[in-house]
């Protein structure tokens, strides 16, 4: 397969066409992250998106892929993942064996953005396979196939991880970290978060404002009995319930308070704080 063998309006190879982000994803820029990512992409710099769960990392990368007009190959990492799951393997067919590219190889060969979500979940011996792709070499050796894949000029690697995830056994090696530029993600400032919640869930700005106030209350409790505050994603879920006609406090119970903790005192305090916001 020749990387130059591209066709289609966007010049995308048919092998990765299904990964093209068709519709414009909603993303509300918070600072200059779009400009920074565009610059990083122009330099083909591998990027790391750091931030707590549900603050918009994945949505951002989808938006950037759409904006840059590149296909996006996403892979959620888990600890059972092997290097073969990333680079590919031989399969059997009627005529013998057939090589099947893994998602990383696919992206490198045909010029997509490859996004490894929650990279720390993968074992460290797995993550090292990305190393040769993330320095000046930009190659991916396929040992079993005895092939050296030179990355397509459009290829870029992005990873995400949540630094608040508390397990000393799961961390990113320095040799991996130092290959990436990093963008810090956090919950957006109040006004912007209200706008996002209102847009995504369909509730009015006033209700969205209250939901954001409740989330701010829970974020005050981070490290004091809560592992994480309520994420923007949770607020959107609560808003969606409200937009369906569910009574606001019930929606908060279902979408915010019950999922975030099992601690009875904490639930009570969060419910009381939520009441204070309505």
């Amino acid at each position: 397969m020749n990387p130059k063998d591209t066709h289609g309006a966007a010049g995308t190879h048919s092998a990765v066409r299904q990964y093209v982000v068709g519709r414009k994803p909603y993303y509300r820029p918070v600072a200059d992250e779009v400009r920074l990512y565009e610059a990083a992409y122009a330099a083909r710099l591998p990027m790391m998106l750091k931030g707590p769960t549900g603050c918009g990392k994945t949505r951002f990368i989808e938006y950037m892929a759409w904006k840059l007009g590149k296909p996006l190959v996403t892979l959620a990492c888990n600890e059972d993942m092997t290097a073969a799951d990333l680079v590919g393997r031989y399969l059997l067919d009627a005529d013998g064996t057939r090589w099947m590219d893994g998602p990383l190889t696919l992206a490198a060969r045909f010029g997509a953005i490859c996004y490894l979500d929650e990279i720390v979940e993968a074992r460290q011996d797995t993550t090292v396979v990305i190393h040769p792709l993330t320095d000046a070499r930009r190659v991916l050796p396929l040992e079993r196939k005895n092939e050296l894949v030179h990355a397509h000029p459009d290829f870029q690697l992005a990873i995400s991880w949540n630094p608040g995830y508390q397990s000393v056994l799961k961390d990113l090696k320095q040799s991996t970290r130092q290959r990436f530029g990093a963008l810090d993600f956090s919950y957006p400032p109040r006004e912007i978060e209200i706008e996002i919640v209102a847009h995504e869930s369909g509730v009015d700005l006033q209700s969205a404002g209250r939901l954001v106030s409740i989330a701010e209350r829970s974020r005050n409790l981070k490290g004091h009995g809560l592992e994480e505050g309520m994420s923007t994603r949770m607020l959107i879920h609560a808003g969606a319930l409200i937009a369906q006609g569910i009574e606001p406090m019930t929606a908060c119970e279902v979408a915010l308070i019950r999922p975030i903790t099992d601690d009875a005192d904490m639930r009570d305090a969060l419910a009381a704080a939520a009441h204070a916001c309505f």
Partner: protein, 566 residues
């Protein structure tokens, strides 16, 4: 009847959620016969509440507690300075207090409109024909709180008009003083009878307003003899009182047996010298601190067994978690001679070999095995003087709670089979950092370790960096895949010969970095509610937890450990 101690944790979490800062709560002892008139009170950063509040038909004691802490915390947030009583008569003081109550509530309502639903049910005063100043003040409180409520008494109506007319000045505490002085004078001219000594603030959730006044030279005297609250005479803080401790003598005998003298001065090894980071000169001061390993005093090991006995429920819960931890980590072992499934990759390779005419590798199965935990953990306890402080509401000390928590953690680690040590430290200037080992890696967790744990005591200061360096050195000698220092401390680093707080904080940070370079993780469990200021500087963004409620330490520590090492 709702008891303060049942709801204390909910209330303090509630306040932290609302305002994002730590507000301390405590309870004052009940005085006989004053139940209906008890009001909360604010003293410095503390909100003092009655030990219990009765439930009534239309509201629970919890609702009253919640309304009370929400109101008092609004004072802490918005009454930015105390008012001087100079030149004010008692009626003016009472009026200013009522207006200030309304002002802080109005400001809190701007941020949290839902508080109206919390406070509203308590405002039930109706005009009943009595024109005592107390009745008028209660009516004033209602009319200022409920915008749609009308009261036609001329003084009340005037007060309402003035207060609502100055909404743009609600940010400014001196508004209450100006309006209150003026209206207090009017009230005096109405010749409404008023006895400041027996006046009780209405509604019931509001505090006695002592906290917002500065009584000048007599301040302390007046606070002591606070007459106009129902809590008169009995407002002794019950929490730090030694009398409570006596009631739990059975539990603290060991504690008292091991006084400061229990620290042996017998040295177990030659003193070790460590460098210390001085941020001012940007380099390490070589061999600056001297660490001595001392023998730990022995206590009664039955004490530790009693701790486990007392927490039987928790121990059982931890046991189940331990079991889960042991079996829950399946790992797929590939390329086995036999197993429950075919290994797809190996099968394909074998088939390729067969087609190529070569002898295939027969190891084509996958089996599920258990992940080996290869972990060495050093639990490092801060044994400084402050650990002898009593924990409000728990009837015990920080040290005792740390001891209980460590006993439960050790029990869990012993069950899991992790290699662990328990060490402690304190310091008396840079020449005398003391370090003792309650249990070491190679020693079994048996009677000796338990009796040493039972004998541990708190004294002197906290030179954290040197202790962390020594703990790092101990761990560095171990062979393990992952190494962890779990530091349990109740305050920021400090010592008698250092006056610059940042110095020891930055040294501790350096020690953590040095350990990390040796492949040793450091995790801190801080018992200091104000720790947010400095812990993340020392331990990095994610390697710490501040425990929200000290009494829960024994419960939290084993669970935290399992989460960390999962």
């Amino acid at each position: 009847m709702t008891s303060f101690f049942e709801v204390e944790r909910r209330l303090s979490l509630y306040l932290r959620a609302l305002w994002g800062r730590d507000i301390k709560l405590d309870a004052f002892a009940d005085s006989q016969g004053a139940h209906a008139h008890r009001r909360s009170t604010i003293a410095g950063d503390f909100i003092s509440l009655p030990q219990s509040w009765a439930d009534s038909a239309d509201r629970s004691g919890l609702a009253l507690y919640r309304a009370a802490v929400a109101h008092a915390s609004a004072h802490l947030m918005f009454t930015t300075r105390r008012f001087p009583t100079d030149g004010l008569d008692p009626l003016q003081v009472a009026t200013v207090s009522t207006i200030e109550d309304a002002r802080v509530e109005a400001r809190a309502l701007r941020a949290f409109p839902g508080l109206r639903g919390l406070w509203g049910p308590f405002h039930a005063t109706e005009p009943d024909g009595s024109v005592t100043a107390a009745a008028l003040l209660a009516r004033l409180a209602r009319v200022l709180f409920e915008e749609n409520y009308r009261d036609d008494h001329p003084w009340v109506a005037k007060a309402r008009r003035l207060f609502l007319g100055q909404q743009d000045r609600w940010e400014d505490p001196s508004l209450s003083l100006t309006l209150g002085s003026l209206l207090g004078k009017d009230l005096r001219q109405l010749r409404a009878p008023f006895d400041f000594g027996t006046w009780v603030v209405e509604p019931a959730y509001r505090d006695d307003n002592l906290g917002i006044w500065d009584f000048g030279a007599d301040d302390e005297v007046i606070r002591q003899g606070a007459r106009h609250s129902g809590s008169e005479g009995g407002r002794a803080r019950i929490t730090p009182g030694p009398g409570v401790a006596a009631g739990e003598a059975g539990q603290s005998t060991v504690l008292t047996a091991a006084g400061p003298e229990a620290w042996s001065t017998e040295l177990l090894s030659p003193p070790v010298r460590y460098d210390e980071w001085d941020y001012l000169i940007g380099r390490e001061r070589p061999t600056w601190c001297t660490l001595q390993e001392c023998a730990a005093a022995q206590g009664d090991h039955h004490h530790i067994d009693q701790v486990l006995e007392r927490n039987r429920d928790l121990v059982n819960r931890v046991k189940q978690l331990v079991r889960a931890l042991q079996v829950q980590r399946p790992i797929r072992l590939r390329k086995r001679i036999d197993g429950d499934r075919l290994d797809l990759d190996a099968s394909i390779d074998a088939t390729i070999d067969i087609r190529a005419g070569q002898r295939p590798d027969p190891r084509v199965h996958v089996t599920i095995g258990r992940r080996q935990r290869d972990l060495a953990v050093l639990v490092l306890l801060d044994l400084s003087q402050s650990t002898n402080d009593r924990v409000p509401g728990a009837g015990t000390t920080v040290l005792e709670l740390a001891r209980e928590a460590t006993a439960l953690l050790a029990d869990a680690m012993d069950r899991i089979g992790d290699s662990f040590a328990i060490h402690g430290f304190s310091s008396n200037g840079r020449h005398e950092v003391r370090y003792c080992r309650f249990k070491d890696f190679d020693h079994p967790y048996g009677e000796l370790a338990k009796s040493l744990l039972a004998g541990m005591s708190g004294q002197l200061s906290t030179r954290m960096g040197t202790a962390l360096r020594h703990a790092g050195r101990c761990l560095n000698e171990r062979r393990a895949h992952k190494k962890l220092v779990l530091l349990i401390t109740d305050g920021e680093p400090s010592d008698i010969d250092v006056h610059d707080n940042r110095y020891l904080v930055l040294d501790a940070k350096k020690a953590v970095e040095n350990n990390s370079r040796l492949g040793i993780h450091t995790y801190c469990l801080s018992l200091d509610p104000k720790a947010d200021r400095y812990v993340s500087r020392i331990f990095g963004q994610r390697n710490w937890t501040v425990i929200d409620h000290l009494r829960r330490l024994p419960e939290v520590l084993p669970l935290l450990y399992m989460r960390l090492t999962h």
